[in-house]
C-alpha cells in the first residue's frame, strides 16, 4: 500500500513539474514561433499568390471579425503606392492526413482569385501531397470565385487517386471565398482601394 502511494506521488510530482515547465516554455516561445511561421511559411506563400505589391503584406496584416460569427481572420494586404491591389487569407480544412492549410489570394480589381498556395499539409507523399504542386495550384490563378472540381461539374481538375486531398483544398478555397465576401466591406474600409 505504502509503495503504491509512493509510486502515485512520484509520478504525479514528475508529471506536474514537467507540465508546468512546458506550459511556461510554450508561453515564452509563442510569439517568436508565430513570427517564424510568418517568415518561413506564410510569407513565401503570400509571394506566390499576390504580385505587383511594394509593401510587406506580413507586417501590414490585420485581423478582422467575420460578420455574424465570432471568427477572427488574419488578412494580408498587397498595396502598391498605398493603394490596395489584393488581399490574401489562409483557411484550413481537414484532409486525408490532418489539416490542409491554403493561402488564397484575391484580386480586388477583377473580383477573381489571384492564386492559391498550400501552406501546411500532411497528405500522402506522391499522391495527396501533389496538391502542393504547381500543376494543381496553378489552376486557381486568375480563376473566378466560383471554384469546383470537374467531378462535381466545375473546372478544377482534381488529382487522380487523391480525391480527399483535392476536395479538401477546394473546400478551403471556397471557405476563403465566403470569408472574403463577408469581410470585403471592412477590407476596403481599412485600406484605400486601387484601380
Amino acid at each position: 500500500m505504502k509503495e503504491g502511494l509512493k509510486m502515485i506521488a512520484v509520478l504525479t510530482l514528475i508529471c506536474g513539474m514537467f507540465s508546468v515547465t512546458l506550459a511556461g516554455l510554450k508561453e515564452a516561445t509563442e510569439s517568436r514561433i508565430e513570427e517564424q511561421v510568418l517568415t518561413y511559411v506564410q510569407g513565401p506563400a503570400i509571394n506566390q499568390v499576390l504580385s505587383g505589391f511594394d509593401n510587406s503584406p506580413v507586417t501590414d496584416r490585420m485581423k478582422f471579425t467575420v460578420h455574424g460569427t465570432e471568427e477572427r481572420v488574419t488578412v494580408f494586404p498587397a498595396l502598391k503606392e498605398g493603394l490596395l491591389l489584393g488581399v490574401a487569407l489562409e483557411t484550413f480544412t481537414k484532409g486525408h492526413g490532418g489539416e490542409v492549410g491554403v493561402m488564397v489570394g484575391f484580386n480586388l480589381s477583377g473580383e477573381n482569385l489571384s492564386g492559391i498556395a498550400i501552406t501546411t499539409m500532411k497528405e500522402t507523399p506522391g499522391i495527396g501531397a501533389r496538391i502542393a504542386g504547381h500543376g494543381f495550384t496553378s489552376q486557381f490563378k486568375d480563376h473566378s470565385m466560383d471554384v469546383e472540381l470537374t467531378s462535381k461539374g466545375g473546372s478544377i481538375e482534381g488529382i487522380a487517386g487523391a480525391t480527399t486531398s483535392s476536395t479538401a483544398s477546394v473546400e478551403a478555397v471556397k471557405q476563403a471565398v465566403s470569408i472574403f465576401q463577408k469581410i470585403k466591406p471592412q477590407i476596403t474600409q481599412a485600406w484605400p482601394g486601387g484601380s
Binding site: E3, K6, M7, V10, L11, I14, C15, F18, T21, L22, L25, K26, T29, R32, I33, Q36, V37, T39, Y40
Partner: protein
C-alpha cells in the same frame, strides 16, 4: 578525471551509437539524407540525451523501480517537446526539414537505453558526461552517414558541390534502401577494422556466432 574521460570517450568509439550498440536506428536511417540533416538531428539528440541523463540521475533515488520506465519517458518526452518548441522558435528551416523525426526522439532507444543502463545507477556528473559522449558520437555517426549519402546521392556536401559537374547523382543512396546499404557497409568496415586492430595487438578476435547448424538447435530437435 580518468573515470570521467572513460565515460565520455566510450560513446566516441567503444560503444559508439548507432554502430556499436545498434540502437536508435529509426532516426539514423530516416534523416541522414544530407549531412546537414544528420548534424541537426544529432544536436537535438545531444541536448535531449544529456538533459534526460542529468534529470534521471537527479531523480534516481526517488523514482520507484516499478514505475521507472514511465518516469523516464515523461522526462524524455518533455525534453523533446522543449526541443521542438525551441527549434520552431529559433531554427524554423531545420524544423521544417526534420519534421516528424523530432517528436520521434522520444522513442529513440538510445535515450531510454542510457537512462536505464547508466543514468539510473550513476551520479549526476558521470551521467551528464555519458550522455554528452554518446550524443557527440551519435552526431558524428549521423553526420558521416549523411555526408556519404549526400555526396553520392546529390554530389554535394553540406549543400556545396563537391563532385565534378558531369557526375550523375546516384539517387539510390538518398532513398531508404540506400540508408540500409550504407549503414551495413559502414558497420562491416568498422568490424573489419576492429578485428584487424585486435589481431595486431595479439588479442583473440571476437568471432561471429557460429554459422553451423549445431549452435542453432531449431531444426535438430
Amino acid at each position: 578525471m580518468s573515470k570521467l574521460w572513460k565515460e565520455f570517450s566510450k560513446g566516441l568509439w567503444k560503444d559508439l551509437p548507432p554502430f556499436k550498440v545498434v540502437l536508435g536506428l529509426c532516426p539514423v536511417l530516416a534523416v541522414t539524407k544530407t549531412a546537414d540533416n544528420g548534424f541537426g538531428m544529432g544536436l537535438a539528440v545531444i541536448f535531449v540525451l544529456t538533459m534526460s541523463n542529468v534529470l534521471v540521475s537527479i531523480f534516481r533515488k526517488i523514482i520507484p523501480p516499478k514505475v521507472r520506465i514511465a518516469c523516464f519517458i515523461v522526462i524524455a518526452a518533455s525534453l523533446v517537446v522543449s526541443v521542438e518548441l525551441l527549434m520552431q522558435a529559433f531554427a524554423y528551416p531545420l524544423y521544417q526539414q526534420l519534421g516528424i523525426f523530432v517528436p520521434l526522439i522520444v522513442v529513440n532507444c538510445i535515450i531510454l537505453g542510457r537512462a536505464e543502463a547508466f543514468a539510473s545507477k550513476n551520479p549526476i556528473l558521470l551521467s551528464a558526461v555519458d550522455g554528452l559522449g554518446m550524443g557527440i558520437g551519435f552526431t558524428i555517426s549521423l553526420t558521416l552517414l549523411g555526408g556519404i549519402r549526400e555526396l553520392f546521392g546529390y554530389g554535394t556536401l553540406f549543400g556545396t558541390r563537391i563532385m565534378p559537374e558531369h557526375y550523375k547523382p546516384f539517387s539510390f543512396m538518398v532513398e531508404a534502401p540506400g540508408a540500409f546499404v550504407c549503414l551495413g557497409l559502414m558497420l562491416s568496415a568498422m568490424n573489419i577494422f576492429t578485428s584487424w586492430q585486435a589481431r595486431r595487438k595479439g588479442q583473440a578476435v571476437l568471432d561471429n556466432p557460429g554459422h553451423e547448424c549445431r549452435s542453432c538447435g531449431i531444426c535438430s530437435r
